[in-house]
């Protein structure tokens, strides 16, 4: 069965297989264990997840084992740490959730790894480093750490490095706090590797990675009278190559591209992307389903992709009046919008991602389904992240939702979809066909089949 290819090729017959699943099997899911973000690092060797309990778990890919060619580098736990704790805002008498909204890796510059993690209010820069040696034979202190009496020291010696069990330490190096009145929805590291942006509902701030007590406000859409507020910022990202360019999306389905060279406050956009509304599909929920939940530049920097409630759109940065490609994720939900509004599912924020070569895109749906679209062949596939199809190297079977009429075998009807099983967060390895899919509290890793 043909699947969607990624990586270097494109368009060949291709199948996705189960590789690993992380997380408890328990039916009873603790809220704190729900995964809220997934991100590969630049090399793909590290995979980070954040959860609602404020924890970050980093998986590292094992070196390929020649004796076991099929297990092409499994991901195992490398480091776990508590990134954010719940806080209390005394002024407003409200809790500040410790849920990790986003994790973004910094490009690796030395032996240590750095990542930014953020909750609603505070961004933290974490350093993850390995320690496999320790020094013995200090002059001023004993082996157990007690200070020696300096008058008793008669000879000097040079401490010796001795090997020890590998220890992975995570330490917070910077804490960027008190810069956001509203909830942070995005962070994005600049291509200059020195600055990054953080965006909340109404403002975007520019930070220097070394400086925590100052940030520059580069976008501010807060109206003078809050009663006039009709639009919020939903996502923002720096261009992958041009360090002066970034985009931000809104709840009205628009994307603004800004150039920081033009002015200090980028309230006036350089480009404005909006697709005119299709009058035949107008409904009460048109605005809500047009709200963009995620925006991602392609690796090439020539395109960007936006996710709204029912579709994924690919935009050419040179064409503002409409997207170049539109993919329907779950059009069968269009007739259910009132119910989805009632139960709040219509506000679910799905993310989307590109593969390494920008030839394929992926996004999640309900019932633990996720969808992949091949941009070249225009083929699409629906797969499911479930324990049932979790046998090692088992090939994933394409799924289909029956929209009406007679339900064929193996199809699932719209009314049987489980709307509590939503796949909001997915990630694609930067160079290979390995994907990470977060299904509530479980992390699924799928790989392409090695023929």
């Amino acid at each position: 069965m043909a699947g969607v290819a990624g990586g270097g090729g494109g368009g060949n017959d291709f199948q996705w297989c189960f590789s690993q699943v992380k997380g408890a099997i328990d039916e009873d899911v603790a809220e704190a264990d729900i995964i809220s973000t997934v991100e590969f690092n630049y090399s793909g060797d590290l995979l980070a997840t954040g959860d609602k309990g404020g924890r970050v778990v980093i998986f590292q890919r094992e070196q390929e084992n020649k004796s076991r060619p099929h297990s092409r580098g499994e991901y195992n736990v490398y480091s776990t740490f508590q990134s954010h704790e719940p806080e209390f805002d005394y002024l407003k008498s409200l809790e500040i959730e410790e849920k990790i909204n986003k994790i973004r890796w910094l490009p690796q510059q030395n032996a240590a790894h750095f990542l930014l993690s953020t909750n609603d209010k505070t961004i933290k820069l974490w350093k993850i480093s390995e320690r496999d040696k320790r020094a013995e034979g200090y002059n001023l202190k004993d082996e157990d750490g007690r200070l020696r009496d300096p008058f008793r020291i008669t000879a000097l010696r040079v401490p010796i490095l001795k090997p020890m069990d590998l220890m992975v330490e995570a330490s917070p190096r910077r804490i960027f706090a008190n810069a956001h009145t509203y909830h942070i929805n995005s962070i994005s590291v600049n291509s200059d590797h020195e600055t990054y942006l953080s965006a909340d509902d109404l403002r975007i701030n520019l930070w220097h990675l070394e400086i925590t007590d100052r940030s520059f406000n580069i976008v501010d859409i807060k109206p003078a009278n809050m009663e006039e507020l009709t639009e919020v910022i939903t996502a923002a990202e720096f261009h992958p190559h041009h360090c002066n360019v970034f985009v931000y999306s809104s709840s009205k389905g628009t994307i603004r591209l800004c150039d920081m060279r033009s002015s200090a406050l980028c309230d006036r956009h350089s480009k404005f992307f909006e697709e005119p509304e299709d009058p035949s599909s107008r409904s009460f929920f048109s605005e809500i389903i047009s709200s963009i939940s995620d925006v991602k530049f392609s690796h090439s920097g020539r395109y960007m992709m936006t996710r709204d409630y029912l579709s994924v759109k690919v935009w050419d940065l040179n064409m503002e009046n409409r997207p170049v490609e539109t993919y329907q994720v779950h059009e069968y939900l269009r007739s259910k919008l009132c119910s989805l509004y009632e139960n709040d599912c219509i506000f679910d924020k799905f993310e989307c991602c590109w593969n390494g070569s920008d030839s394929a895109i992926m996004t999640g749906s309900y019932n633990n389904f996720f969808r992949m679209f091949d941009r070249n062949t225009r083929r699409d596939i629906t797969l499911e992240a479930s324990r049932e199809s979790s046998k090692p190297r088992a090939i994933l079977k394409p799924r289909k939702v029956c929209t009406g009429g007679k339900r064929k075998k193996d199809e699932i009807s719209v009314d049987s979809l489980d709307f509590n099983k939503k796949i909001l967060h997915t990630a694609w390895h930067p160079t290979e066909n390995i994907i990470a899919v977060a299904a509530t509290n479980n992390l699924y890793i799928f790989q392409d089949k090695i023929n």
């Binding site: 805002d89 409200l94 009663e227 049987s416």
Partner: protein, 325 residues
């Protein structure tokens, strides 16, 4: 979060339902003849749902600004549409205080409403098990000085969030399914049921327009008069900041609200309180709404349901500082 596990009953066969189409399917223009009614019902239902979302949510954390903005836009759009149509007809489903010992006062106002509706349908039946929070009209909650203390929370809330109020309404809908069969022959979906309920309310209220006006002199008059409704429509509150704009109920004086015997025990927010303790405290929506429109604080972007809380905790802090404790 998501209320239902599945869209509809698990494994239930679905019948082709024309009415579901009318609610969610194709676009129905207001000018279509026979479908004008279903468009209006659709709009009413969505309006009611939107209001409930805004005023019944009682989170421990700040509600999502994006969600609030989108719901607000929805309400404003419908409000604009209604204004353009030129008719400020009642859009609220009638609600009641089913467990209120002072219900007599409310029921007094009912006859004007109920006798015009189909005899087998009584609006209060729909919401007979509705807890306080799902009442749609803040006005309806102003029962003298008992609105804070007399109502008991009817659900055992979960530790974090109280269940969305729409849930109990649905239960009562399904129990009243037989009664509304007349209006809606194949109510196989909850939306159709909601539509039918709204239809009953709308049908009755349509006729009510021709009946004598009832003014809200006493707070317990739930049957909004057209005048108060028009004020309601005119002043959809800004939900983002406390303002001093005209409130819902201009017939009430400040004294009625400010100096009424208000039980403030729920606002003693102790961070050490267990979440269940917090959830079991009551949530008089009306107090929040009124105080929001009347409170002097206008500079801070406080969420709509927390203004009173903020006032009191701020006062507490100030008092502590002054007393030096």
């Amino acid at each position: 979060m998501g209320v239902q596990r599945y869209m509809l009953g698990k494994g239930g066969k679905r019948k082709f339902d024309e009415h579901e189409d009318g609610l969610e399917g194709k676009v129905v223009s207001p000018t279509d003849g026979p479908s004008k009614v279903s468009y209006t019902l659709q709009r009413q239902t969505i309006f009611n749902i939107s209001l409930m979302k805004l005023y019944n949510h009682r989170p421990l954390t700040e509600p999502s600004l994006q969600k609030t903005v989108l719901i607000n836009n929805m309400l404003r759009r419908i409000q604009e549409e209604l204004k353009q149509e030129g008719s400020l007809r009642p859009v609220f489903i009638t609600t009641s205080q089913p467990t209120d010992p002072l219900g007599d006062n409310f029921r007094e106002a009912q006859p004007a409403f109920s006798h015009l509706a189909s005899p087998s349908i009584h609006p209060t039946d729909f919401v007979s098990t509705t807890p306080l929070e799902s009442c749609l009209t803040p006005a309806s909650l102003l029962e003298d000085d008992t609105f804070c203390t007399s109502q008991t929370v009817q659900h055992d809330g979960p530790t974090k969030l109280p269940p969305p109020a729409i849930q109990p309404v649905k239960d009562s809908f399904s129990s009243a399914l037989d009664e509304i069969e007349e209006l809606c022959p194949t109510p196989t979906s909850t939306e159709a049921v909601a539509v039918a309920a709204a239809a009953a309310a709308a049908a009755a209220e349509d006729s009510k327009e021709n009946s004598s006006e009832s003014n809200i002199q006493k707070p317990e008059g739930v049957q909004e008069s057209r005048t108060s409704e028009s004020k309601l429509m005119d002043s959809l509150p800004g939900n983002f900041e406390i303002t001093t704009s005209t409130g819902f109920l201009t017939d009430l004086t400040l004294d009625d609200i400010l100096f009424a015997d208000i039980d403030t025990s729920m606002y003693d927010f102790d961070p050490c309180t267990s979440a269940t303790g917090t959830a079991s405290k009551m949530a008089p929506v009306s107090a929040d709404d009124l105080l929001k429109t009347l409170a002097p604080y206008s500079s801070q972007p406080v969420t709509p349901n927390q203004p009173f809380k903020m006032d009191l905790t701020e006062l507490d802090h100030i008092m502590e500082v002054l007393v030096g404790s």
